[in-house]
Symmetry: C2
């Protein structure tokens, strides 16, 4: 079980809700200039704060050094949004604590000494914040955080100083993208201190029309304000996306259905699928399901498939080395078989 | 039953073999300047020569004036290659005799007084010639043909003078088209008095990669030579196409399979299909079946579908007036349902 394959509120548009806190240990240099010996001390401190035999996190969390994690599994952690690519860059000193439901992770010696996050399926910002706040309290019982009474929590990068909180929502916005409304939305949210980026693929390109909306400012607002501001804005975007989908169906019905069914047909039959096309197709199918155009596949099943179709996910399924062309072939095979299975299950249930 | 849905030799590449004879009735002006009264006399002569109560054609042929055929059915006769568009232009005087198997037709008062044709499934030129030669003999028993002992049979257009014979083979050449070999082939056949054109769609464009190869010259060769020349050339083209298909599969295997399965997926799922795209897709699927890449659908079943997907075929299935957009929607519906039925039958057999 993880956030990916679990039901969640407003899952038709919202893939996940995420909170992240940046924390550093007092009297230690920031990771960029941290000697290896001290880095290991910090990792041990964090490990003990979780696995101390008394906190309610203890039984549920595993803790490991990145150097002990195979390269492919490292990439899968990234593709599942459970760890950052940066964590994998200093495997000798970096570590990860992970709860059994794959919803809470604590990264050690990434950009900051401690970066903890909670990721939940669908739209549940408050729950994601409360859960993470509790984890923060548990760690703080044993770890002395770097804190300034005027600035708040001190972080490696000034943009995280203050609350150290980054809250984000992963949104699937194919209709707003198709209607060229995304630019206006991105401008509007930047005025209220929010920012957006594509979540899969390179740079800001939004593969599969999936955007991550998050707060830009961590200083000068309370945690509750940050969560609330993001929640209100995203609730509005979710409504806009739903309206845009309905409008597409109403005013462009047959072409809209046609495009969705074609995407479905290609996903079910192609023998070669590049990542970018795969994301475009599954984005169309995801929208088609939520609108009742396609068979009633569970969205979370499809989102699991989206993760499994990422490069490392495909390589893991293959269980062997693959060049890029082979990845595209194995991806097509894996998606095709999964779609067949999903549809058969749907038809027989 | 007709040539379309019947098995035939080399059906993987050859849709049909056709012979056509142009004949005129002695002492009558050619149709272009033929008074209506005389045109009707000719039609009656032809009708009686077939339905004379003694020829072996009598029981098997129906005869009707084009003015009595609904417009939609007229177009379907054209799409099935049983009559020409030109025949429909003078409905008051033009007529058609048609055998029950839809293989032999006799057009009256088209460009010539009499244009008879035999069309057979797959590659069987000799049989198509022998059958037609017999029909010609039967009609000639009662109709006095315009004939010049030096020139041969006289026809409205000089290009048909002599034997009056046009023999043609309808070939499906997707691999040669994909490999850009068609230009060289068209040049080569023109040197031996053959010509090619696309068979569906406007002008010379070969929708669905289907080409009709025929003799250009009707004068100066015997009927047997014409048939033989065409047969030898087409046999070579058929072999070239088969080799090109194998080469595509060998050297470009996965992309080739991918393209065919995608075409199949779209054909099975699209909600809007324009004629041109439909022909491209069904061309790919036809090749995929013949190469064992797709389920073993009978080619003649697919060729029936190709005919039913033509504009008049779609309008007939709908049973009501359709604008162009509606034709594309109904086409997609009809093809999708037919494909589903075909595949279910295949799976259960």
């Amino acid at each position: 079980m993880s956030w990916i394959n679990e039901k969640g509120p407003a899952r038709d548009v919202v893939l996940s809700s995420r909170t992240r806190l940046a924390r550093n240990v007092a009297k230690y240099p920031f990771p960029g200039i941290l000697p290896e010996k001290q880095a290991k001390e910090i990792a041990e401190k964090v490990r003990k704060s979780i696995q101390d035999g008394k906190s309610d996190l203890d039984s549920d969390f595993s803790f490991f050094y990145i150097k002990d994690v195979p390269a492919l599994e490292q990439q899968i952690l990234v593709e599942k949004h459970l760890a950052s690519p940066d964590l994998m860059k200093s495997p000798e000193i970096s570590a990860l604590a992970l709860d059994s439901s794959e919803k809470v992770t604590v990264m050690v010696n990434e950009e900051d000494h401690i970066r903890m996050q909670c990721i939940l399926p669908g739209f549940q910002m408050n729950q994601a914040w409360e859960t993470l706040n509790h984890v923060d309290d548990v760690i703080e019982e044993e770890v002395d955080y770097a804190y300034d009474k005027d600035l708040g929590y001190l972080t490696s990068c000034p943009t995280n100083v203050g609350t150290g909180l980054r809250a984000s929502v992963m949104l699937h916005l194919p209709a707003l993208t198709a209607n060229n409304q995304m630019n206006a939305i991105l401008q509007a949210i930047s005025k209220i201190g929010l920012t957006a980026r594509g979540i899969y693929g390179e740079g800001t390109e939004a593969l599969g029309n999936i955007y991550q909306i998050s707060n830009q400012i961590t200083l000068g607002s309370s945690e509750e304000d940050i969560i609330n501001n993001l929640t209100v804005a995203c609730r509005q975007i979710v409504e806009n996306e739903r309206m845009a989908r309905k409008a597409l169906l109403k005013f462009n019905g047959i072409q809209f259905r046609d495009a969705i069914w074609r995407s479905f047909g290609i996903l079910c039959h192609a023998r070669v699928l590049e990542l970018k096309e795969f994301m475009t197709l599954i984005s169309q199918v995801r929208m088609g399901i939520s609108m009742g155009i396609l068979p009633n596949i569970n969205t979370e099943v499809l989102d699991t498939l989206m993760t499994e179709g990422q490069p490392a996910g495909v390589r893991k399924k293959a269980g062997r080395q693959l060049d890029e062309m082979e990845v595209n072939i194995v991806r097509a095979d894996l998606i095709r078989k999964a779609m067949k299975e999903i549809i058969n299950k749907e038809t027989n249930s």
